[in-house]
């Protein structure tokens, strides 16, 4: 699903003071954007098709624990694509998406727990609530940029768990102890177990949302988002309504993250204020950085990174797993500044150059 952004992105940093270095450079700004040769476009479509099919077959080949892990990775991937829309494509840094994830999870959990909604019906309302919330948070965000927006959204991330614990809401949120949910049943008498069913449920939603993101970001609106990120004034001069695009991006980004949060509540069957602390927001940001800013496929790599690497670091060193995690993070940023997606794309371009020469 590697996409090429053909609009020119700023790469003239040298002549400007440091403070005006663009906030986010897309992968294409650093790696020469070479359009794929025609016959390879077809090959790429086949490749994506093959990955989709393999994804649908995986739950039949794996143990339940790994199915559960993969399901969680897909949930993260949905949240990451949402965050990447905002940070990678639109250049608005958010440290507050953990809060939106939490709101999505709680809306879904409360609908299922207090109002007896079926799990599959609770996902969309959670997303819509987050969409509205994100849109309104996007309004003050219009006045902020860079570090300042990061701080304001950090405020959102740190405050949300405290609000969730508050007594006035305890009737619905369950206060400190959170809400325990029941595991979804397999419908229609299908011959699969519950873990496999949840996997397919999440998988289907993820495919739809990825397709939506792909269409949105490759089209006119996506190019407008990138233009606002790279040259805000030129973008306005070209007739792009920067305020509407920015707030809507915030809204759509929040929708994706809210849906991911709702799905996480269904997958884990438990929500509590402490599972959505400030570190969740950081983890999400790390995910898109490692996966690759302004890329769609990066969401998958990023999700696998934030899910698997902490475990891996724990096996490498029992005493200081997080130190290893931090070092890995810095090394990845140093050696792969465009993330894994940029790396994969670079390899692909080298290969295609080799074959078409």
């Amino acid at each position: 699903m590697a996409e090429q952004v053909k609009t020119s992105t700023t790469s003239t940093v040298a002549g400007q003071p440091l403070s005006s270095v663009p906030l986010v450079k897309s992968a294409t700004a650093q790696i020469q954007a070479v359009p794929l040769p025609r016959r390879l476009v077809g090959a790429r479509a086949w490749g994506i098709g093959a990955i989709v099919v393999i994804g649908a077959l995986l739950p039949f080949a794996l143990q339940n624990f790994y199915i559960f892990q993969l399901t969680l990775a897909m949930v993260y991937a949905i949240a990451l694509i949402g965050l990447n829309m905002l940070v990678g494509y639109n250049g608005q840094v958010s440290l507050g998406h953990g809060a939106l994830y939490a709101i999505g999870a709680y809306i879904a959990a409360i609908l299922m727990n207090s109002y007896d909604w079926p799990y599959w019906l609770s996902v969309l309302p959670a997303g819509v609530v987050c969409l509205v919330f994100g849109y309104f948070f996007g309004l003050p965000a219009l006045r902020l940029s860079g570090h300042y927006l990061a701080l304001a959204s950090l405020a959102l991330a740190v405050t949300t768990p405290q609000v969730l614990k508050h007594k006035a809401l305890e009737q619905w949120t369950g206060g400190f102890s959170g809400i325990v949910l029941s595991k979804p049943e397999v419908p229609f008498g299908l011959p699969i177990n519950q873990d496999q069913w949840i996997y397919f449920f999440v998988y289907a939603i993820m495919l739809v949302l990825f397709l939506g993101a792909y269409n949105l970001l490759r089209g006119r609106i996506g190019r407008a988002m990138i233009a606002i990120r790279d040259q805000p004034i030129a973008a306005e001069a070209m007739g792009i309504n920067s305020a509407i695009i920015k707030t809507s991006t915030f809204g759509v980004s929040a929708f994706y993250t809210g849906v991911a949060g709702a799905l996480s509540a269904i997958v884990v069957q438990f929500v509590s204020p402490d599972s959505y602390d400030f570190f969740l927001s950081i983890t999400l940001l790390v995910g898109i950085a490692v996966g690759g800013f302004a890329t769609i496929s990066g969401a998958i790599y990023g999700a696998l990174f934030i899910l698997l690497v902490p475990n891996f670091a724990g096996e490498l060193s029992k005493s200081a797993p997080w130190a290893i995690y931090g070092v890995l993070l810095i090394l990845v940023m140093y050696f792969l500044p465009t993330g894994f997606a940029g790396f994969v794309r670079m390899i692909g371009q080298r290969l295609s150059a080799m074959f078409t020469r």
Partner: protein, 290 residues
């Protein structure tokens, strides 16, 4: 009334601590234009060094100054080794690196020094001055130390060539380079000073909060709020902002919103200030030509 005075005084005392770390944040912001999310963790690590030194039998003030030297060197080293390679990358990459640094320093500290709470001595006598029951000597002393740091910083930036060079680098690195300032060393110096100030604030916090690897997490948030409230480019402003946040936190926490949502005060302050007066109360509004 007595209770209110109590809250105000303990607010001033914790404000002093926030002001200390806010100053460190301002140092790096002034010289590089970045907000160092790992500042609190670096301060915490330095405080552990001081604790080890005192544990080996070093007298308090000896350990105090040795720690400052260590923190300065560590700050310079981190800038040269970790931050420097990223200077051409976009801000967001640097934010990720700061987060990586935060995680590394935090977990290295709990790995080396263990996770048990440690008591940290205070250099000030324990009998309160004039037998008052509002404020302890340690709190008074911390406020004094913070005010001294602010004064030194003010003189340094206002009246020394080195301070002027550092301000120039923050303003316009390329022109500074052209007039012969060694830009990269100025940045490293900024990091060193920030780390040293952070270490002082860490050593002032530790007797109150007990030494622990998560000691500075909350302090960092309040300090950020203070620095933003006062203005990120102004040491005086940041210190005053730290004090205001300390008082607000205690008074509002006690009378208006309850201790449960105390944390949120700082964050609401951040958002409101950023929206109404992004440069802070005492900051300079920067006009950019486009």
């Amino acid at each position: 009334m007595d209770a209110l005075l109590h809250q105000i005084f303990s607010g001033i005392a914790s404000g002093g601590i926030y002001a200390g770390l806010a100053l460190a944040l301002v140092m790096i912001y002034q010289s590089t234009g970045h907000i160092n999310f790992a500042q609190g963790e670096m301060a915490m690590f330095s405080t552990y060094i001081a604790w080890e030194l005192i544990d080996y039998g070093t007298p308090y003030w000896g350990a105090f100054f040795l720690t400052i030297v260590f923190a300065f060197a560590a700050g310079v080293a981190i800038e040269r080794l970790v931050i420097r390679p990223f200077h051409n990358l976009p801000v967001i990459a640097l934010i990720i690196v700061f987060i990586g640094l935060l995680v590394v320093v935090n977990s290295t500290a709990s790995w080396i020094f263990g996770t048990t709470l440690k008591t940290f001595p205070s250099p000030f006598p324990s009998e309160p001055l004039w037998n008052n029951h509002y404020i302890s000597n340690h709190e008074l002393g911390s406020i004094g130390v913070v005010l001294i740091i602010v004064a030194i910083l003010f003189v340094f930036f206002r009246y020394t060539t080195l301070g002027l060079a550092m301000r120039a680098v923050a303003e316009n690195p390329i022109s500074s380079r052209l007039v012969g300032i060694r830009v990269s060393w100025m940045l490293a110096l900024g990091w060193g000073l920030a780390a040293a100030i952070g270490a002082v604030s860490g050593m002032l916090v530790a007797p109150i909060l007990y030494l622990d690897s998560s000691m500075m997490g909350g302090v960092l948030i309040y300090s950020l709020a203070g620095a933003i409230l006062g203005g990120l480019d102004n040491p005086w402003g940041a210190a005053v902002g730290g004090f205001i946040i300390g008082i607000m936190e205690n008074v509002l926490g006690a009378y208006v919103i309850g201790t449960q949502l105390k944390f949120s005060v700082a964050l609401i302050v951040i958002v409101v200030v950023l929206l109404l007066r992004p440069a802070g109360l005492f900051g300079r509004t920067v006009v950019t030509r486009v």
